[in-house]
Symmetry: C2
Subunit: 195 residues, 2 copies
DNA sequence: GATGTATATATCAATCTGATATATGCATCC
DNA sequence: GGATGCATATATCAGATTGATATATACATC
């Protein structure tokens, strides 16, 4: 979803500055399905201004820099609702972690093991944070997306834990027999289904 | 991962044209963790040429346009291996589908139901395709990533199937009681954990 | 004083996105 | 027969995004 639509979605819930919009988009559950930087937020807000989808009001603050608070217009609400009616674009997923694992043979055993352990630690931390989220005032949509994200992280953690040794061992074996047709012993957690 | 590194990864397995590189990146298991367009492949190949990480040879073809076949250099291999040693960047996931579900209250009941059904159909098709993949010659890394992706799709399908009715019903109830503090009956598949 | 953090707005070079253009063939349809 | 569509190929473009940086008002720490 383009940055304009994301800003409209946040502003639909209440007026906010560019900085506040970014902060909200970094929280759960937005964080599960979107990511956006200042470099695209401010140009997007300016485009929304030009299109009459938002208005802006400068505010002075004590002990803090001035801020510009943006509010959605009726046109902006219409625009947001219109974009929800389009068939959603394909999900987009990019993972340098999986790219590196795909090339496991080019990595040393220890480096590969470290990658796993770092990612497993991160996943556990994310899952803990998500379990601590207070969803008491959340909409059905928010709860659903939260649950979707949590399920993903839990399953990813489970997959990494149950297949870590397999990849380390297979990669080691492959490295030692790169030209052989050796068929390794099949274990119960062999990825790729039947052999 | 930037497009140059992706191109080097493909060329490491054998020389290829820009078009062939894109085709390979669209296949499993690359498709699970990366996506890239011609608009970035050709400039990336040109930059790799300038850097001496690839060489290029033009080839005429019968009944087809000429093609330019790129091959990785020793410098290019070093570059690829070097990039595998950096800590991987954070995974990036964007989903318009989840964005729309997050705003379920702004959609009509039928529209919401259609979204679910379309996605469920797509997921089943993807899972079928992945089950039909021949992994007999695949590397451990490729098998691992394939398994990771398949697990994700299967779990996403499961989550959608088990929570579809919940979101439709909750959203409907919320729409009818938007200012109430009504507490709905808790079912065994309520997302968001404890209430 | 330098460094770091938080709140704020803004910008920039490099890269990517989605679409489009062009070219060589072949197949199908009205 | 011409238009349309597909596949194989290379290339480009306007708009958008990315990651970093700059600037400003405060405050805290070393």
């Amino acid at each position: 979803m383009d940055t304009r639509t994301l800003c409209l979605a946040i502003l639909q819930k209440g007026a906010a500055s560019g900085y506040e919009i970014k902060k909200k988009l970094e929280e759960m559950p937005y964080r599960i399905f979107q990511e956006v930087g200042f470099g695209s937020i401010y140009p997007a807000l300016n485009r929304l201004l030009e299109a009459g989808h938002v208005t802006v009001q400068a505010q002075a603050q004590r002990k803090r820099p001035d801020k510009k608070v943006y509010a959605i217009t009726a046109n902006g609400r219409q625009e947001l609702e219109g974009s929800l009616l389009h068939p959603p674009a394909q999900d987009r997923f990019r993972s340098d972690f999986l790219f590196v694992l795909f090339h496991s043979e080019l990595l040393a055993h220890e480096e590969l093991a470290d990658l796993f352990d770092t990612r497993i630690t991160e996943l556990k931390s994310t899952i803990d944070q998500m379990h601590a989220c207070d969803l008491s005032g959340a909409s059905p949509g928010a709860r659903f997306v939260h649950g979707y994200g949590l399920t993903y992280y839990e399953n990813a953690l489970d997959y990494l834990c149950t297949h870590r040794e397999w990849l380390l061992d297979e990669t080691e074996a492959r490295r030692q027999t790169t030209s052989a047709t050796w068929c390794p012993e099949v274990s119960s957690t062999v990825p790729g289904g039947d052999r």
